[in-house]
Symmetry: C2
């Protein structure tokens, strides 16, 4: 069976990190080709005998040194025929979240450099990658309404305010602290420890941990967050 078709298929990875009240995106600087030295999302062509999911995990590892296995399919970009000016490429984008503290970047042999960029300050990117990041962020934001978040992004022990700041950062609006706390605690996916963390001045905050099982159950079954109290 012969099909005449000259389209290539690639995967791209949007990895969000969170640190000090800011969201970051992992980017690489291209090493070869026409686009040398341009910043872009990690990604590359899919191998003939490789599932899409594995392709994106592999590319991430090769180009950034980051090992993330839980990547969610975001969208397939294939309407703009010239999104890659060199040839027709359809890209399946995946996104995921990590705690940058727990990783060290390593551009390896495939990229010139791998670096975290604040979402608010993304450089000029190759292809339609800016649009892809935009879409990924919208999805992340939408997910707050129906899934718990934080496990992959925060330290394993964290003050309550970290979780609160994560939400306000992503939602880009303030939240009533008392109502937020009440709501989160009612979901029962985090638990107090008896440790405290002091950060600069101010009363030290009690540290919390994620309740693993409950958190994962809620990921699957979904929650209804509905934060209107801005």
């Amino acid at each position: 069976m012969k099909i005449k078709q000259n389209i290539k298929i690639a995967v791209d990875a949007i990895v969000f990190g969170y640190q000090e009240n800011q969201l970051f995106v992992l980017l690489i600087k291209q090493k070869y080709g026409d686009l040398k030295n341009q910043w872009a999302l990690p990604g590359g062509f899919v191998k003939d005998d490789e599932p899409l999911k594995k392709a994106v995990v592999r590319e991430l590892k090769e180009e950034t040194g980051v090992k993330v296995t839980t990547m969610e399919q975001l969208y397939t970009f294939g309407d703009d025929l010239k999104r890659d000016p060199r040839l027709r490429v359809i890209s399946v984008a995946y996104f995921g979240t990590v705690n940058p503290k727990e990783l060290k970047l390593n551009a390896g042999t495939d990229a010139e450099e791998a670096k975290w960029f604040p979402l608010e300050n993304i450089p000029k990117l190759a292809f339609d990658h800016k649009k892809i990041i935009q879409k990924a962020f919208e999805r992340l934001k939408a997910k707050l309404n129906y899934q718990p978040i934080g496990f992959d992004l925060l330290d394993s022990k964290f003050p309550f305010s970290d979780l609160e700041n994560l939400y306000t950062t992503i939602l880009q609006k303030p939240i009533d602290r008392r109502n937020f706390r009440k709501k989160i605690l009612s979901f029962d996916f985090i638990a107090e420890t008896d440790e405290y963390r002091k950060v600069g001045s101010g009363r030290p905050g009690k540290l919390y941990v994620f309740k693993n099982k409950r958190y994962n159950d809620l990921l699957k079954q979904g929650i209804s967050f509905e934060i209107k109290f801005a």
Copy 2:
């Protein structure tokens, strides 16, 4: 720039129809090749100079005679290397909804036959198409929670019970009629007419129409349906 990659890319269409308290899926019987006479989703290979969205619209037209332009990207199936036993094919699935009453099917030259099948009674399908339909139905179900539905599925004038039955059919559980009505009317996306429809016995129902602008606004901005009252 030469990339060695031998993967083909296809699109598949899941079109849902609704009639008499049943959801239907549009299928075609293959005309050529190894899979001749097997039922499958409408779809086919993407042309080199064709956006994905156009490819799925074209294939639908060619294989079923149905002209649907609002197709939403569902998911890209590319993890199972042998989903097409003949060669590596990655399929981008799109789904949409139509009112079967307003269409006549026409298999054209590309398919042997095009036919509506009740979702509850899908025949053996080629490839992983059963899985794809399953995923599309889950998405449709999920969408009830955050978008209005019915405009594409129901007659332009419809009794309230049609909308109610559409919801119960998709959600596969009963709904309290009074609370449902209250909720729907509060969204303000349908309006009364002064016409009535009598169907067999029983009191005739007042006919409603969709408020176009409001409906579309709600599609974009989203609603919160949250039907717990089963």
